[in-house]
Subunit: 256 residues, 2 copies
């Protein structure tokens, strides 16, 4: 093994067979030694979930472009934790997650397994970037993501990232992006959240659906604003959830 | 239904049968109308995971102390989303999560289903508090949590919480707490993360375990510091993961 080549650790939440994972590996394999550890099945919407009540398996998969590929029978974060524990013998120089089939923009990024995996790497000090294409199809065309993946991966390999910050990159699908903007996640909420059904015996059941309503559509500091205008969005994301700025207000409130 | 009584929405991640859920309901049932919607089975470590690829069921459970209790066949966040969609006819005045059997302190709170549920309520504008007892046992004694649950719930019902901030409350188990401190989550990492086994055919499998190593044990601004010293910790938590302070640094870095 050539220790001087950067070690690039890759995961995703759409599973080891997702074309987005393959595309991501193909984009960066020339830059270093690539190891990909991805869920054995699609695990969208898994956030930072971990498997605490069941064993995990690692399965070697066919590699390509020089990359080693494994699947793990768990969540995206399980893939990162177990991959770093059992499959690498040095700390990766960068962690890339995706390319996700579908957007991870706005404040609903909190549910994203793609960003859950990136935040896990970030927490242990590995510069991490999550990539998402605004197209859900298994047959989506990922070619427009290539220049952004290459550019951002190179820049982060060269310059690193601030401690405890990772990047959430969303890429429009319907056009050639006009450029990129570094912004915050738009705030919004989901409406019409569940489709309602009755089973053959008449008992109700529910299926998550819904539509994201952006509550700040005219705010040019947000990702949704620029994605609508055919730009790539880059949001700095922090795994640390403490709102330090709120400590004094909470103090006033609880000590009244 | 008395519309003037506060509506208290409760969930957890240990499941509808957990003694911690029962204790939480018993503490606050005198303060208002209580509805509890909890996972049908334990779902620890689920973070903000949502079920996107399967239907969800709601099952009515025996109520007590005047509380209505339901289970949902999903994650803690599913319970909050589906409960708010299908089981309440007005916006709850407060959301309480727990009492969790085990700690949710330090930066590993990112994996917490208890706080995933609280953040979900916070995101839709409901003041939310997660409570955790530093004792994993199903037979843990929750009595020491009572005064803190009552005090904080009353204060938040009276005064609300700042927009997009919820509270993560951890309560020591081995002593009567000396008081409470409003602090940030301690930073640390997990070590010896997996136990390794071989199945009867000799194939390896892994089980998550590990020990949290606090990298700032002497920092009096952190939750771990005060929990060690027999105080209750209160951490303001924000679901918005954008690190706005990092935008200009990321800009320098990617535009070099």
């Amino acid at each position: 093994m050539n220790q001087s080549k950067p070690l690039i650790f890759i995961s995703n939440d759409d599973g080891v067979d997702a074309p987005g994972l393959r595309h991501l590996i193909e984009c960066v394999s020339y830059m270093g030694e690539v190891i990909a550890v991805a869920p054995s099945a699609p695990r969208s919407g898994q956030s930072s979930a971990i498997t605490v009540d069941a064993p995990l398996r690692i399965t070697p998969c066919p590699g390509f472009d020089g990359a080693k590929v494994y699947s793990v029978s768990g969540t995206p974060v399980d893939c990162v934790k177990l991959g770093l524990h059992a499959l690498v013998n040095r700390k990766p120089d960068i962690m890339l997650s995706g390319v996700n089939h579908g957007s991870n923009s706005g404040n609903s990024v909190i549910y994203s397994g793609t960003m859950g995996a990136a935040m896990e790497a970030c927490m242990v000090g590995i510069p991490a970037i999550g990539f998402s294409l605004l197209h859900h199809s298994i047959e989506a065309d990922f070619s427009q993501t290539t220049p952004y993946i290459i550019n951002f991966t190179k820049k982060v390999l060269e310059n690193g990232l601030p401690d405890q910050v990772c990047l959430n990159v969303n890429i429009p699908a319907k056009c050639v992006p006009k450029g990129f903007k570094i912004v915050k996640a738009a705030r919004g909420y989901w409406t019409e959240e569940y489709a309602e059904y009755a089973d053959p015996s008449g008992k109700p059941f529910y299926w998550l659906t819904g539509r994201f309503v952006n509550t700040e559509p005219d705010n040019p500091d947000t990702d949704e604003y620029w994605l609508q205008r055919e730009y790539v969005s880059v949001v700095p994301v922090r795994p640390d959830q403490t709102d330090s700025d709120a400590i004094s207000r909470i103090s006033d409130l609880l000590c009244r």
